[in-house]
């Protein structure tokens, strides 16, 4: 019991507070970097799944579930980032730019999910291109 309690405390201590305040501009940039990584992953997963469906290499149920999962993950990522208090004016501007890109990505991922769940592939080609553009826009948010 003691061992389990110790492990539980240690493990819970590892859970990153997703909405911890970023006290400096560098810390805010680090949070943005993590957000971009997670968002890029969701966008990439959606794009790969959509491409597989358009190429008739995957089934509608599989792609529907995969994209739904990616959409949930992206929503959580965006909400977490949006809740972080920017520490200065520069970070406020950065936040606005980032949220514009993230919102666009969310819109496109949701659109893919809607089309796929309706059992169609109409419009997916354009969304695949849009998702590629989202990935580029996300990469541009963070200095290399």
């Amino acid at each position: 019991m003691v061992l389990v309690s110790v492990v539980a405390v240690l493990v819970l201590g590892c859970v990153q507070n997703p909405a911890a305040p970023a006290r400096t501009a560098d810390a805010y940039l680090a949070a943005l970097d993590k957000t971009v990584g997670a968002a890029t992953s969701s966008v990439a997963t959606t794009r790969l799944a959509a491409e597989a469906l358009v190429a008739e290499r995957a089934t509608f149920p599989y792609v529907g579930e995969t994209v739904s999962g990616a959409e949930d993950e992206l929503g959580s990522t965006v909400a977490t980032f949006a809740s972080i208090q920017p520490p200065d004016d520069g970070s406020v501007d950065l936040r606005a730019d980032a949220l514009a890109v993230l919102d666009a990505a969310q819109e496109h991922v949701s659109a893919v999910r809607i089309i796929v769940r309706n059992g169609s592939t109409d419009g997916l080609d354009a969304l695949i291109d849009a998702l590629s553009a989202d990935a580029d826009a996300l990469a541009a948010l963070v200095p290399a």
């Binding site: 019991m1 061992l3 389990v4 492990v7 240690l10 493990v11 201590g13 590892c14 859970v15 990153q16 993590k34 990584g37 997670a38 890029t40 992953s41 990439a44 997963t45 794009r47 790969l48 799944a49 491409e51 597989a52 190429a55 008739e56 290499r57 995957a58 089934t59 509608f60 149920p61 599989y62 529907g64 579930e65 995969t66 999962g69 990616a70 993950e73 990935a135």
Partner: protein, 409 residues
């Protein structure tokens, strides 16, 4: 011919039954994030589980008793209790992950939220344990797990630059964008995925279930020395698929659904269907093993009658523990806790707790009171001792690395 068939079947079952939710998630996640730079850990882990399983299988075949049973007797109730506590906790986490994995695999075909399917998965796991003979349940899901060979086919179909792949595998390096601590953390995760304790409890208890004796040592060794390494190839194939398709796209694995995506892109719908069948079989088989392992551990520690080789009424407490473990895992799964996170914690904590299970087995395997003339030879003892040191180092490093890296974030 009479001996060849059981050996062949045992090898196939060992290959197909090697992969579970932890291997699926860990290998795909590592491949999508680190490429091939941690492939060496899979090799080290496979050798480790081969050693671990050979010791425990031989103990069971020679003594006619399962590992937990002997650990308590040989090392005393306190050591046995420590072993039991750590193993049962991790086993329970693993069972949650496996049942969720079954539900997710079905959801990817049925397009139903996996949470609705968790009670169905839990019921089916219990029903199979209750109704199906031990050897049948072991072989059916082990053989179905061979469907995961589709990942090997996918790697070939993707057609990577093999020279580059071999170079990455043989020249492991920490990627520039990762810290050495995160690299080490994921190395431990992979290691824990390959060396989960429940596999050993199940393997040794299974040997008693099937009434193995010294005459079956050839089958036991074939399973372990041939089957497990070939099963390890499946883990490497899953990693390779993620490294070749997901990594270049920037997709990190945080859902089981992403694991077969490279197979779909490489082979198409048929490949996807086979991969999903393999994932279902792997997670269902592992759910059976972990549920039974819960029963084995508790019953063997307390000296209760256990096993499917006796009538259920004669092992009522064993079956009750199995049922409670399944229901408990179902309840935790229904709470909506991320199954991938549960899987990651279970495999990392497995690595931390390994010495508690490994050392007692090594001691018993060298004790002539139980083993007669079949104690470990010098070579096996040398390898086993090296691994004991490695396990202690891993166990000491696990929790600090978990804290420093924020569980690999």
């Amino acid at each position: 011919m009479k001996k060849v068939l059981p050996i062949f079947l045992g090898i196939l079952t060992a290959i197909g039954g090697f992969v579970d939710m932890g291997d699926l998630v860990a290998n795909a996640a590592v491949g999508a994030r680190f490429g091939f730079s941690l492939a060496w850990v899979v090799v080290v882990g496979v050798v480790g589980i081969v050693v671990f399983a050979e010791l425990s299988g031989r103990v069971a075949a020679v003594s006619g008793r399962a590992v937990f049973d002997l650990v308590r007797e040989r090392l005393g109730p306190v050591a046995g209790a420590l072993n039991l506590g750590a193993s049962f906790f991790i086993n329970s986490l693993t069972l949650v992950a496996e049942i969720a994995g079954v539900a997710i695999a079905v959801s990817l075909v049925a397009s139903v939220n996996y949470l609705f399917l968790i009670p169905v998965a839990a019921f089916l796991v219990w029903l199979v344990i209750w109704r199906m003979p031990f050897s049948v349940l072991e072989q059916v899901f082990g053989l179905l797990g061979l469907a995961l060979l589709v990942f090997v086919v996918a790697v070939v179909k993707i057609g990577p630059d093999w020279g580059d792949v071999i170079h990455q595998v043989t020249h492991p390096a920490v990627p520039e964008e990762e810290s050495v601590w995160t690299y080490c953390y994921y190395a431990i995760a992979l290691f824990g995925a390959a060396m989960t304790p429940y596999e050993v409890f199940f393997f040794s208890s299974g040997a008693v279930e099937e009434h193995w004796s010294t005459k079956d040592l050839a089958v036991e060794r074939a399973n372990v020395f041939v089957g497990f390494p070939l099963g390890g190839l499946l883990s490497l194939a899953i990693m390779a698929c993620a490294a070749l398709v997901l990594l270049p796209a920037g997709a990190e694995v945080d859902a089981l659904a992403q694991v077969p995506l490279p197979v779909a892109t490489a082979i198409g719908k048929l490949g996807l269907a086979v991969a999903l069948l393999g994932i279902f079989a792997a997670t269902f088989g592992a759910a059976l093993e972990t549920a039974l392992s819960a029963g084995y551990a508790i019953a063997q520690y307390f000296g209760w009658q256990w096993g499917k080789f006796v009538r259920p009424r004669d092992a009522a407490r064993f079956h009750l523990v199995v049922l409670v473990a399944i229901v408990g895992a179902m309840i935790v799964g229904l709470a909506g806790i991320d199954p991938v996170k549960v899987t990651e914690y279970s495999i990392v904590l497995s690595a931390a707790a390994l010495p508690l299970t490994y050392l007692p087995i090594l001691i018993v395997a060298n004790d002539p009171t139980y083993m007669g003339e079949r104690t470990c030879g010098r070579i096996m003892n040398a390898i086993a001792t090296v691994y004991l040191v490695l396990l202690v180092v891993v166990a000491v490093a696990t929790i600090p690395l978990m804290i420093v890296t924020r569980a690999g974030a």
